[in-house]
């Protein structure tokens, strides 16, 4: 192969989800249940993924536990020697269901929380009683000795809870927490005015993370996704386009990243028609921004071009209208000041109502 084999597969098993988080990374046009891949097709995809070099699969959604065949899928992944990571809201899973997934060979649970206290958490998630259910599941995950990661998506309406999130995760027995500042795609982009923190809040938050890492070293691993509207350099989105990860949508579309469908000229293949290897090697969408040849200035002559790979194509598309432009999150982008202005204005907007994530949204 002339470029590296992928290492991770994000499997969006379904877009069904009882929660309605306004920062959801799913596309605005959600796949319906009738269009979801069946069990046998998913199994084939995971077998092809393993043969292709993928080591870890992230079972996500929507809410992956909404699928009745999840344990069967996990058992199949285990058989293929794939490491399985369940990315869940936790509200559909009881003790018996968790035990089934455990017995099938599940390796790790990543459980989302919307805030540290029920009222605001349930308001953000748009699901009454959700927070209590999540706390109960977290205790069950730890009790059967599965490693637990707490995932906290951070935005203006819960940014004050950053420290309390870490305290809660430690108390729950999680060994890892993701403090993931909202990335503005899909529903989050639609709700940007309700979610964007101020520049000062973002700076304080990054500073606080350093303090917390020192305080909790050896107790819990704190991983962070930084608020990129205020960053100096862009994130190396998905580790570089078509370099490390593959995303499969509930309907079987194979995407270089979960937001790739927002780029109009890309053509996506479907696992129903082609093998994963064929798609990885030959898909127009994967080859469009692979490597560095597609880059324009300031990326093309930049010494960081193989560090951050031009940042995020979808963000360039959304904010500059041209996917080949540098990610405007980069301070070298001609659009960077515009992006910061958008962030500043969004942050100062009086909290509008959420546009909750819904099929009829």
């Amino acid at each position: 192969m002339k470029f590296p084999a992928p290492i991770g597969l994000l499997a969006e098993l379904t877009h069904r989800c009882p929660l309605q988080c306004p920062y959801c990374s799913n596309p605005l046009a959600l796949d319906r249940k009738s269009g979801e891949l069946d069990t046998e097709t998913w199994k084939r995809v995971f077998s092809e993924a393993a043969a292709l070099g993928i080591l870890q699969v992230h079972l996500s959604g929507g809410e992956p536990t909404a699928r009745a065949d999840l344990a069967e899928i996990i058992a199949h992944c285990r058989q293929e020697n794939l490491y399985t990571n369940l990315i869940t809201s936790g509200v559909l899973l009881n003790e018996k269901g968790l035990r089934e997934l455990y017995d099938a060979g599940l390796d790790h649970v990543q459980l989302s929380f919307q805030d540290v206290e029920a009222a605001n958490a349930d308001r953000i998630g748009g699901y009454k009683g959700g927070h209590e259910k999540k706390l109960a599941l977290a205790a069950q995950v730890v009790a059967i000795r599965l490693p637990l990661t707490v995932n906290a998506v951070i935005h203006r309406q819960n940014i004050g809870s950053t420290e309390a999130f870490v305290e809660m995760a430690v108390k729950l027995g999680a060994k890892r927490i993701e403090i993931a500042h909202t990335q503005y795609y899909g529903w989050a982009l639609a709700n940007r005015n309700a979610l964007m923190p101020t520049h000062q809040q973002a700076l304080d938050s990054v500073q606080l993370l350093q303090t917390l890492r020192q305080r909790y070293g050896g107790i819990i691993v704190i991983d962070a996704v930084v608020p990129d509207y205020y960053a100096r350099f862009p994130k190396a989105c998905v580790g570089g386009w078509g370099r490390r990860v593959i995303n499969v949508s509930p309907g079987g579309k194979v995407l270089p990243c979960h937001a790739a469908e927002t780029i109009p000229r890309l053509i996506f293949d479907n696992v129903k028609d082609k093998s994963l290897e064929d798609i990885w090697l030959h898909s127009q969408a994967f080859n469009a921004y692979r490597g560095t040849a597609w880059m324009r200035e300031p990326c093309q002559s930049c010494e960081r071009k193989e560090i951050d790979w031009g940042g995020c194509r979808c963000q360039a598309m959304a904010l500059t209208g041209v996917a080949e432009n540098a990610d405007p999150a980069c301070s070298l982008s001609a659009f960077n000041s515009q992006m910061r202005a958008i962030a500043g204005e969004s942050a100062m907007t009086a909290d509008p109502d959420f546009r909750y994530r819904r099929f009829d949204g």
């Binding site: 084999a5 290492i7 043969a51 292709l52 070099g53 080591l55 870890q56 020697n81 490491y83 990571n85 390796d107 790790h108 990543q110 000795r145 599965l146 490693p147 990661t149 060994k175 890892r176 050896g218 691993v221 991983d223």
Partner: protein, 90 residues
């Protein structure tokens, strides 16, 4: 500090795995993949939840024809590093 009688094991959620496509061994953990060299792989295969650090070192000493005490210092350093990152438990 790791003792001679500590019994290291790989916990649930971490997996010692072959990566045939890249012709190597890896430790798979939550959002982490650790590439192993030949020595690390040899040590981790012996972390079976039965052998203690001394037993592991003695086994390696046979394979590599070295003194157990010499090997044990290296083994302890490596296991200490892996334990700090939650890749193994003692």
């Amino acid at each position: 500090m790791i003792a001679d009688t500590d019994i290291p094991r790989i916990p649930r959620g971490v997996r010692l795995s072959q990566d045939p496509v890249r012709n190597r061994w890896v430790l798979l953990a939550p959002e982490r993949i650790l590439e192993l060299d030949e020595i690390a792989q040899a040590v981790l295969i012996l972390c079976d939840g039965a052998r203690d650090v001394r037993g592991i070192s003695a086994e390696l000493a046979k394979t590599y024809r070295a003194e157990t005490s010499e090997i044990m210092a290296d083994v302890k350093e490596m296991l200490g590093d892996l334990a700090a990152k939650h890749f193994i438990v003692l």
